[in-house]
Symmetry: C3
Subunit: 131 residues, 3 copies
């Protein structure tokens, strides 16, 4: 299939947004029942990760700890002032690969896919391709 | 091929377990000689990475430094008490993609695939799919 | 296609090297117009990431902050003295998956692919496979 994309709107400087529904919908529309699904974030101050959705405290803790380890201000050279977001983007990563079986994303019981905003609020894009 | 899986049993809170043999065996059974192999961990307090196996001090140092950078206790909100494991899971990542040529995983001289336990000991699953 | 590879020479202990041109050239030679491209680094003290190329201060800041978070000397056990490089390799990761459409790598406006040297200077290899 050709890549599909969807748009999301973050509302905070740092925010994890569950995108399971949008990715599964694109998978449904592809008609592909077996393969792999690539989720790719075409931004350099955002990322994608898989983690727990059941308790929102988990993503809250991930966000807080990343902000502590990679402080927003730390004598960075980049004039735009968002170097911390670029660093977190490289640590978390621009893509995830998820297995597809019987037309479903194969995720563990507690796993959800999260778009990671590190320099919001912004309008963002997510690319999805199933092979 | 449909995904295959295997089970491993971690014995420590934080532990890296070499899974080269299990992944290569699934590749052998698939009969696929050329493509890519996706290794996916369906857990939110574990991950998969590729690093050096020759000297066990390397994974020992990775574990110790990750525990220093992301301390086990740091005023986390998540009541289950394993937020550090969730954070490390997102930093290291839930999947690895490895090239396959002539029926073999194409790894560098010093590379091995490690299951990363961050909240053990537990019984864990690893999914493998070759395309 | 079978995997292709190219060689690069790093000149500093820690260095990010833009490899967009080499990866796109291998994609061109493959003749594949639609699929996914896997970039894989067969080393345990190097990695690959996607980040901003427009302002070189961005990769400069990423390098400096990674060196601050994962110090080069921190009572590591590994005798070779490059444990920090191994740790950074696992955090940034050995592979990137990039979508391919119409014979082009689908990257965001500000995204470039960087080989990440964490224990240079060295001669290094990068594997590329398009499916």
């Amino acid at each position: 299939m050709t890549k599909k994309e969807f748009t999301i709107r973050s509302t905070s400087p740092t925010q994890f947004i569950n995108i399971d529904r949008q990715v599964q919908q694109i998978l449904n529309e592809s008609g592909i029942s077996d393969g792999i699904c690539v989720v790719f974030v075409p931004h350099t101050t955002a990322a994608v990760t898989i983690n727990e959705n059941a308790d929102p405290d988990v993503t809250h803790d991930i966000i807080d700890e990343l902000n502590k380890v990679i402080p927003w201000a730390d004598n960075y050279a980049h004039r735009e002032g968002n170097s911390a977001a670029h660093i977190k983007a490289s640590l978390v990563g621009a893509s995830e690969v998820i297995l597809v079986e019987n037309g479903r994303l194969v995720l563990g019981t507690w796993q959800s896919i999260f778009f990671c905003e590190f320099d919001g609020p912004r309008t963002r894009h997510v690319y999805v391709k199933v092979q």
